[in-house]
Subunit: 140 residues, 2 copies
């Protein structure tokens, strides 16, 4: 999914929602193509999973993301009552503890478990190459 | 917009995005009706404003919300580069400082200004009546 984003000139981030070992929603970043600030990979994947299950509640689901989610997406993961977030690459500013605060927000009687998943190097490489290409183009 | 939500059995929250004194996007909470965890008032209003301006960037815009935004919506407001958030009623757990942390997240080279707006009592009353009715129905 992240590779699909890169091919369309989007920051390469991909996400899938899984239930009982099956993918029930997948998405990639489409912010530029759709010109919507909300169209991050996680939001697309969550909305697809909700439509598939015909429910805003994604209890018993896991979400896999190639990059540590931004505050909006972390909030969406908590709002959807997803059980577990698994991400590959870290965000540069991940040390600020904001992700944990959002995922265990007092507003919701729900806490999302956070784990790391495989693919960190691939996800990072994809992002690095994307920004390298972008800098090349903008300096031309 | 919040009243529209209440009439449809949704938690009554409404939002409008304003640019140069004109409403360019409005929304109300549609989580239950659409069965989508992401369909909060702010997200609906932001997506409409992006479509109107044909841009994911909402520079120079203000968003008015009847209730202090959740982490997902605060993140979306920051992602959309909205200038100012104005909200009426406070969330019960607003003392945790999470909103400010999200709106000035280090990830974005952008800081959303936060102000209070008129309508606090009306917004609170609408919410209180909604939950009172809900409790009545569930105890019948």
């Amino acid at each position: 999914m992240a590779e699909k984003a890169a091919k369309q000139g989007e920051i390469p981030v991909g996400a899938v929602v899984v239930k009982d070992g099956k993918i029930i929603g997948k998405g990639f970043n489409q912010r530029e193509r759709k010109q919507l600030a909300t169209k991050h990979a996680e939001i697309v994947a969550i909305e697809k999973a909700c439509k598939r299950l015909k429910s805003w509640r994604l209890d018993g689901c896991q979400i896999y993301v190639t990059l540590e989610p931004c505050p909006m997406c972390a909030g969406a993961i908590a709002n959807a009552r997803i059980d577990t977030l698994l991400f590959a690459a870290e965000e540069k500013t991940s040390s600020d503890g904001l992700l944990q605060s959002i995922l265990s927000s007092l507003r919701l009687n729900h806490k999302v478990e956070v784990k790391r998943c495989e693919g960190k190097e691939d996800a990072q490489l994809l992002l690095q190459n994307f920004f390298k290409e972008k800098r090349k183009k903008s300096s031309k």
